[in-house]
Symmetry: D2
Subunit: 154 residues, 4 copies
């Protein structure tokens, strides 16, 4: 997926379907979340590392576009990228594809704030996490820069 | 419902249905739980009163018999009674009926233990809660005693 | 709530909380949905009336802003209004308040399309539903018109 | 796991936790279900094969014993075995372990009935499924027989 360096796969559970015979739309937010958890596990020592430092990441805003229904037992590839890390805030974009044929079934984004786990007051994204995200996303950034310079020169 | 003094109604949410067109069976445990919460609100000051005293009630065991499917938008009447309060333990029985025609759709039970919220070690059910439950269930007990004495005399 | 004629109350279930001690953010989409169901029950004969005519309403897009956490046992008042009914599409706006003190805890919107239940192809919103929505929302429209004319004249 | 030939791993999602900081107990029924789906995928062509033949498997009864809490991000190994296939009925047993240290965190069972997807009337478990289950479970049966004969001879 262009612009994304990370994805995780999730298989649609029977419990996630509804009487329309498709995955219920609220589950997409749960799939976004487990993808963020997998992302942090891959690049930044896991979400629990954040929690152990007394920091929780809260969800500030969420947006989903549903393009094609997902069905029971479909394997969904959830692409995610993290960006716009500023102060206490950061943001994830997502693209969801059916793993077997690459059909885009949904996309969306979520924005987040780090908060102190006790006071629930906003707290800066820790420096180590900012670095981990920057390092993780660097390949996608370089691709984008290369594309932009190549189109500029042509 | 014979032997039960308490019920609460729950309307089947669309999100609770599955691709079989019926309420997914895991939701029954959630309906049991919200009925316990309503029961404690009615008779014992609410579940939060327990939590404010540093006590959590954990689920030790759960059992459900599914008799007739529940469908989207059905109103389910969940009857509950609490009994067998001993040491840290107590138990709830449930009968679920469709509210509009009284069809029994499921029954079940759950057993619970009070634990210290910090240590998660078992702790005795507080005396005030034992009393509140005994008082709440007294009418059903008396009914049962009356039935038993009337059948003995006949 | 200014501009809204309909609301329904939902009590936060224990099962809806997460390890942050607050209602998990995915549940807001479920609360939106049950509010749409209650809205249709109030004004348009219920969602099942639509389904009986072979029409399903799908979710096309969803957006939530989380302002203040909701907690276990909080009663949330979900205000909803339906508008922008055009062709197969319609849209709902939501405002969520804590019922006891009126604190706004979230807002959001969802857009929808009517589809043929068999083919899943888009189908026009039925005329009776358009009328029912127009009639339901008329008081809010009139309020808005009155406000706008009164501010114009002042 | 003695007596079990199949297991699948499930990672506890943040959305599955509750305000006690542990996995909410209703999710265990969902983990049981996805394990049955994985079992059928491994041994019998997948649950969708059953559905394509117009057969649904319904849940008749469910039982869970909760021994040790599961926490966010724990990997749970769900062992399952299918047995007592008779007429329309069959049954699964489950043992849940924490994958990293083998601690048993829960066990349980579910009983099921095959039904005609249209009429929802009970229908015999298809012969091919009975055979697939018998073949899958044969190693565990043979182990049990070997143990029993060895203890008989000693």
């Amino acid at each position: 997926m262009d612009g994304f360096v990370f994805s995780t796969d999730v298989r649609v559970r029977f419990a996630e379907t509804d009487a329309q015979g498709i995955a219920h739309h609220a589950n997409y937010l749960i799939w976004f979340e487990l993808t963020r958890v997998a992302y942090l596990a891959e690049f930044a020592g896991g979400y629990n590392l954040l929690r152990e430092q007394g920091i929780e990441a809260t969800v500030v805003e969420a947006h989903v576009r549903y393009l094609v229904p997902a069905r029971f037992d479909d394997v969904i590839r959830v692409w995610a990228r993290c960006h716009d890390v500023r102060g206490a805030r950061f943001r994830y974009d997502y693209v969801l594809e059916r793993a077997d044929d690459g059909t885009r079934i949904a996309d969306g984004w979520t924005s987040h704030a780090c908060v102190d786990a006790r006071t629930l007051r906003p707290t800066r994204v820790p420096a180590w996490l900012i670095e981990a995200i920057a390092k993780a996303e660097a390949p996608a950034q370089e691709q984008a820069a290369a594309r932009s310079s190549s189109s500029a020169s042509s």
